[in-house]
């Protein structure tokens, strides 16, 4: 009996000590010797592979960037913490990064998590570079948020143009993966397609926990569409493509940048048929920088880059260049610098507008051919 009581005391003290001791204390962030960057994203859970892919791109980008000017002797320290796609963990990470003296953060990837962490980072004034593409994120008036990635509006619209114009499709059905990215991008596609006279036969939300969409497909394909647009992540997209082909659908399968990765082609299986995706980057072999990036990524991480890898690479360079411009890591100055900077990314010159949206981010339409992606045409805006 006595042992139990004392054990509870010991454990209780341990708990309180744990509370007070966990997490390193604030660093002196005014010093320019170390640039402390926080990263928050999913490394476990359903989105783990995308979070990892994004993180890898950032790591490569940070390592490849040689600092100049006042910061040339500074070391870059990246603190990567897993948010598991959970808003609460994202917020906890946010507060930890702030307490750890981060100068800027790459956070988060899942839209829901970013929506929760934005106010926290905003109040601390830290530059927040996010990979979430949901338009709401840049609509909240937070000047420290930068969405340096293809946003849903652009992707949906660009593919709708292509589908109606180049492919001449008349009846399209849409599927989404019941997540905010998927729903967002299918909504914009649907609207844009209808404006071009395409009949949109519905938007079916799929149950992601089940991998089986045959039933939903059977229902929808009975309406005889001539094209499918899928909005959502590649896990669901690949399976849907495969099952659609197995069900006998031969029309074009369309999707956003999530589907620009080897996983999609492989998941779809041998019978990919005609598939088109929008992606923000020119082909990897179209410029020596891009090719070098793809090769370096493959060498270091032993797999082909995902779409978020190349975005992450650019984001890393964008941030460090902004810091170099003002010669300091002071958050307020860096935010200003980020707004004014024209950055030479792997895709060419890019800027962030006053809302933090990316300008100078043309979209490209790719076709899947022989297990790889072939550029079809260029779409989207120029800055």
């Amino acid at each position: 009996m006595r042992v139990k009581r004392w054990m509870s005391v010991v454990l209780g003290v341990a708990a309180v000590t744990g509370l007070t001791a966990c997490g390193p204390k604030s660093d002196d962030s005014a010093s320019t010797d170390t640039i402390t960057l926080g990263w928050g994203g999913p490394l476990t859970g359903e989105s783990a592979e995308f979070g990892q892919s994004w993180l890898n791109g950032i790591k490569l980008g940070l390592d490849d960037h040689r600092l100049t000017g006042a910061l040339k002797d500074s070391k870059v320290k990246l603190i990567a913490l897993d948010d598991a796609g959970d808003p609460q963990q994202g917020v906890t990470i946010a507060r930890r990064h702030i307490s750890d003296g981060a100068d800027a953060v790459f956070a988060n990837m899942n839209s829901g998590v970013t929506l929760a962490t934005e106010p926290v980072y905003h109040r601390a004034g830290l530059p927040q570079l996010t990979e979430s593409s949901n338009p709401t994120i840049t609509d909240r008036g937070y000047d420290n948020v930068f969405q340096l990635t293809a946003d849903d509006n652009l992707q949906g619209g660009a593919m709708a143009d292509f589908a109606a114009g180049d492919l001449g499709l008349k009846r399209i059905v849409m599927f989404n993966d019941s997540d905010s990215f998927g729903q967002g991008v299918t909504e914009t596609f649907g609207k844009a397609a209808e404006e071009r006279g395409v009949e949109v036969l519905g938007n079916t939300a799929l149950d992601v926990s089940s991998k089986d969409y045959t039933a939903a497909l059977s229902d929808v394909l009975g309406k005889n569409p001539d094209g499918i647009y899928f909005g959502g992540n590649v896990t669901v997209g690949g399976l849907l493509c495969r099952q659609a082909r197995a069900a006998g659908f031969t029309g074009p399968f369309l999707g956003p940048d999530q589907l620009y990765q080897a996983t999609f082609v492989k998941a779809c299986g041998k019978n990919v048929g005609r598939a088109y995706v929008t992606f923000q980057s020119p082909p990897y072999d179209s410029s020596p920088e891009l090719q070098r990036f793809a090769d370096a990524y493959e060498a270091r991480f032993h797999e082909a880059p995902g779409p978020y890898s190349v975005y992450g690479y650019n984001q890393a360079g964008f941030l460090l260049t902004a810091m170099e411009e003002v010669g300091t890591t002071d958050p307020a100055k860096v935010v200003d610098a980020l707004h004014g900077l024209t950055f030479e990314s792997l895709f060419g010159p890019q800027r962030a507008d006053e809302k933090g949206l990316l300008i100078g981010a043309p979209l490209f339409i790719y076709a899947v051919r022989d297990g790889d992606y072939e550029l079809v045409t260029r779409a989207g805006d120029d800055a």
């Binding site: 490394l43 476990t44 859970g45 359903e46 783990a48 592979e49 979070g51 990892q52 892919s53 019941s178 519905g202 079916t204 939300a205 799929l206 149950d207 926990s209 089940s210 991998k211 089986d212 969409y213 045959t214 039933a215 939903a216 059977s218 229902d219 929808v220 009975g222 896990t235 690949g238 399976l239 495969r242 197995a246 069900a247 006998g248 996983t263 492989k266 998941a267 299986g269 041998k270 019978n271 797999e303």
Partner: protein
């Protein structure tokens, strides 16, 4: 008609896989009164070990093989994976459950949860988060019945699953060893008094159940083409549900429950859109499944076929 048949074939295939896992649950439950959540991990290990094993002998997604070679390799991979997961399962029983045989009732549950976390995240650490692709593909060919496709894959998976179930049933009800299992399930003290080596019996039951779980994982990866570290999570929950619908502890019940659940999901997903004019889509299929489950249990609280393994 085409739509109906497509849903039927699909539901049967899904059901076969659920039935396999439900069998694993029900066998272990019948003997140990334990809900073995660790199956989520064993399921995943089955798939990954098969893919790894095939890779070791040089079979990858880019290989092209004749049909006979494919089937042969599939059977080999299946057996290998089953042996592997069976062994791991037996180990899990010895380490995580046997010490808790006489423990308060929910302790083994939490121990099982701990095991799942270790297994799943262990796979994540070792194999990474990028999905792995099952290198064998039987998606070509098949039959067309009244316009609905019955793919070669479905023709492969369903008989395989049924075959395993028949073997298991025969094992439990027609062999001496099976008699030992049923005795242990009925009354472990008496069984022990009668000279049955209950510890060994339980260990073997776990081996069998885990092997089945691993087999289900391989078939799932074959059918859908990919394996990810969380792949076992949802099928395990569904299979547990199926086992309960059929009457937990009851082998035919698990099979019935598995097929029923697969069919329910398929038909719910396939007809919900048209029935409700798009208001409720396939994303609600789980809701339907659970509502039907609740309805069944309200009417028959011990499941459709009752609860005991020995009957």
């Amino acid at each position: 008609m085409k739509h109906f048949l497509t849903l039927l074939f699909n539901g049967l295939t899904l059901g076969a896989i659920y039935a396999l896992i439900a069998l694993s649950f029900t066998m272990v439950y019948g003997v140990l009164k334990l809900i073995n959540f660790a199956y989520a991990g064993l399921f995943t290990l089955g798939a990954y070990s098969a893919i790894w094993g095939l890779g070791v002998v040089g079979v990858t997604s880019s290989s092209t093989l004749a049909l006979t070679a494919t089937i042969g390799l599939l059977v080999l991979a299946l057996l290998g994976a089953m042996a592997f997961t069976g062994t791991i399962g037996t180990l899990v029983e010895r380490v995580a459950y046997r010490p808790l045989r006489h423990a308060p009732l929910l302790a083994p549950l939490i121990s099982a949860l701990g095991v799942v976390l270790i297994l799943q995240n262990g796979v994540l650490l070792v194999a990474g988060s990028t999905p792995k692709f099952f290198p064998l593909d039987v998606s070509g060919g098949g039959l067309v019945i009244a316009g609905a496709r019955l793919s070669a894959l479905q023709i492969t998976v369903v008989p395989l699953a049924l075959g395993l179930m028949v073997v298991l049933y025969a094992l439990v009800h027609r062999t001496h060893f099976g008699l030992g299992i049923r005795a242990t399930a009925d009354d472990i003290r008496t069984a022990r008094l009668m000279g049955i080596r209950t510890d060994r019996t339980i260990g073997l039951v776990f081996f069998l159940g885990s092997a089945l779980g691993g087999a289900a994982g391989v078939m799932y990866a074959l059918y859908y083409g990919t394996a990810t570290y969380l792949m076992g999570y949802t099928p395990s929950i569904k299979a547990f549900t199926a086992a309960v619908i059929g009457g937990i502890g009851n082998i035919p019940g698990a099979v019935l429950g598995g097929f029923l659940l697969g069919l329910m999901e398929s038909f719910a997903a396939g007809y919900s859109g048209s029935l409700t004019g798009g208001a409720i889509g396939p994303n609600y299929q789980d809701v339907f499944a659970f509502l039907i489950l609740i309805a069944i249990l309200t009417v028959k609280p011990t499941g459709l076929l009752g609860a005991r393994i020995s009957r």
